[in-house]
Assembly symmetry: C2
Homo-oligomer: 217 residues x 2
Amino acid sequence: MEFPYRFRDPGLATLALTHRSAGKPNNERMEFLGDALLGALVAELLFEAHPHASEGELSRLRAQLVNGQALAVIGRELELGDDLKLGPGELKSGGFRRDSILADAFEALVAAVYFDDGYDACRQVVRRLFTPRVAEIKRSSKDAKTRLQEWLQGRGLPLPIYELTDSYGEDHAKIFDVSCTIDEPEPIRVEGRGGSRRAAEQDAAETVLRRLLEKKS
Amino acid sequence: MEFPYRFRDPGLATLALTHRSAGKPNNERMEFLGDALLGALVAELLFEAHPHASEGELSRLRAQLVNGQALAVIGRELELGDDLKLGPGELKSGGFRRDSILADAFEALVAAVYFDDGYDACRQVVRRLFTPRVAEIKRSSKDAKTRLQEWLQGRGLPLPIYELTDSYGEDHAKIFDVSCTIDEPEPIRVEGRGGSRRAAEQDAAETVLRRLLEKKS
């Protein structure tokens, strides 16, 4: 599949495909902006596609669509590896196949479209690439605590620990703060909040799951 | 200061100012999209303002500008507290003064502008509010390891531990992976990467700092 946009200024595309191993200027700064644009544009797609999903669910769905591994898959589909500019070391060690390099180049390309022809063009490219992916991804019917538990158990890791850290407000609108802690695969401790202890635990589990899934490959 | 945008559809503004304690529909989903839009728009401002800043620096600057506390300051300047729709419990416990509620309402308003009149209007509002803030914020002359060390020392916490976890590539384009671990104020372990061990440590320290600063108040 070809990248669904033809650049007016091909120099922007070249820059977006230039890895830091090839020297400066390279795509690192563009990647920062592209990542942010992708985040917003995929957020919009999910917002439209899932009118009843909670904020936590939308975040989780986005983390599934926008992460190093998922973007590397797109980078491969678009055959970005063929056009990457790499330093000689990365070239020899097969950098054009590396997930992180492909994902970064894809993000940088998104920013390059934005610079080349503005937001609408960028939005169109992202929607074209992500609409089918958004349609495929299902809202999990399992709650976050269950998913986190399964994720950890599947890796033979200990279960998370939930602790009530605070609760306040009046009885009919009480708010609960709960912490969720895991030690492996990396130490994570987050707080969740909700209108019940269970809801706060779900919120915290959601955040931990997101961190685990966001980890760049 | 008034919110620098007049809504065609005032219902969107009302929804953006409706906290979940007031029932459904509320601003939680809009906040998700608004947060993403803010991230992209402030990224663009920083990209323009700091043509020589690295990706890591841009991320750090954005985390200083877009976090719960900083957005609550804007929410207060805009006097959003006066127009918030809160449930009776939050109303009595002073929810209109709470950082997280003000920050969330501000984020939701950004999305409301996007829905009301599109990207350009939203961009204009965000640029108006953030351009002076971007101008004030300075690129720190101190490197990330120093800043992380000072942040932890200032709180009487132990220093981070850096460990080389991997290195690969040929001599002239070698890449180093380094982990940075802290136990307090919360357990964080991240990996950094760079063309030297020191650069990888800086990269990892930058990420840890960002996590610490990003923590919503």
